[in-house]
Symmetry: C2
Subunit: 255 residues, 2 copies
Amino acid sequence: MSTAHGARARARIEVTAAIKEEARRQLAAEGAARLSLRAVARELGMASSALYRYFPSRDDLLTALIIDAYDSLGEAAEAAHEAAAGAGPARRWTAVCEGVRGWALRHPHEYALIYGSPVPGYTAPRSTVPPASRVALVLIGILRDAHRGGGLARPPLPADLRPEAVRMAADFAPDLPPEAAAAMVAAWAQLFGLVGFELFGQFNRVVEDRETFFRHAAGQLARTVGLELPQQDGGGRTPAPQAAGTGGEGSSAGS
Amino acid sequence: MSTAHGARARARIEVTAAIKEEARRQLAAEGAARLSLRAVARELGMASSALYRYFPSRDDLLTALIIDAYDSLGEAAEAAHEAAAGAGPARRWTAVCEGVRGWALRHPHEYALIYGSPVPGYTAPRSTVPPASRVALVLIGILRDAHRGGGLARPPLPADLRPEAVRMAADFAPDLPPEAAAAMVAAWAQLFGLVGFELFGQFNRVVEDRETFFRHAAGQLARTVGLELPQQDGGGRTPAPQAAGTGGEGSSAGS
DNA sequence: ATCGAAAAGAGAGCAGTGCTCTTGCTTTGG
DNA sequence: CCAAAGCAAGAGCACTGCTCTCTTTTCGAT
């Protein structure tokens, strides 16, 4: 009896995984453009032609890696969110932002693969869409929570943006006010602008203390989407230790 | 005499220009990864090896194209700025943002070349730094003007960001208050986040009316760097429920 | 258990790439 | 005027993605 389509199918999964693993290694070491099917096969001790039984083309391998990268980033974002579960929406927002940044710094080439220039003539297939939205879903979730708790500011929505904002909200953030949906999408893109600039060297002779800079930029982002930051520093200049430590310190935002 | 190394040198720059031109054509048609020295040479009717007299490597050709792209983008930004010369700072800011976006939409592959993932092991040489800063310089100029005219809000600067902000201002925006310098750098990165997301397809099933969406996102960006927008359309001036103490508006500097 | 089909591996080969080296030719400058 | 320097071209190396053929292995029926 054993496994229905047992041995052979299992071997296939294993080989597929091994290929992806080795490919990911080369990706991390050399970047997407230098990822070579032949090199992967060589490293795995198999003929390059045999590899085509598993991935019909180099682009298909890349697609698999892209999906994995999206998932890995999504997981990181979700983990960062859960680690800040107790905190208020604004803090959770910045936590997720920092989670995204941290993942990007840890996996620069994979980040480049999904948020850098699209590869040659390559266009991402539909299967990349769901994993690609995981980060956005986390952010939407935070805004939804804030909205339910009444902690979401609703800045005026210009008339000509309204239809678009309404459509956005209807499409993928049903329980969010339109202005929040629109602001969220903008902030989403802007977040990756910050991360990308740091990662791709645009900040090289510009931003020194990237950690601090990013934290405040993310906080600013939270503010523009309508999240109130718990007593950042209103009029008075608090010495504001701005705890870098995890959780603990600022129960804040109790409400 | 005057034409010291006359004919030969002139031929050299002509051939160099022809190579770059053809390379740019292929770049626009196929993207950076598919740019082939051999194909360029073939199209120009010369041996591929001859091309190496002009560009010692493919990366050097790419570097030349990168510099040109930065300059082209910088020109577009400056042109957009001048076209809005009469308007107030906020409007000029959004004009420059839209200029950047327009250029990116018109030259997607060149945009990808400079703001997408860096090519393989390639690291941009110093010579790319000045042309890369042209857009930022335009934005800084707008803020400087607004600052001189008193039309620049000064949101509170968190204590731990201050050293960094002071350094930034000192380094490349000497006559700007530190908080403006820091906010400007963030907005700069965020602007390219918006443009990149639109260009690289991240907005594909998300943002429909990109034009309108971008215009308002750019306006929001202007606001976060401290520029007050003269009320556009839609609702009247609604008191912003921003928690972050701004509330300030003062005289909307006309000009 | 056997046999045929399906899946998987291996090798050769094609067309393409970046890049180097050698060989001739032309322009230039002393 | 002639050597030196710059330039073009060809051959060749090592590499790539990918296809095609051929052999071996494995699996599911009979």
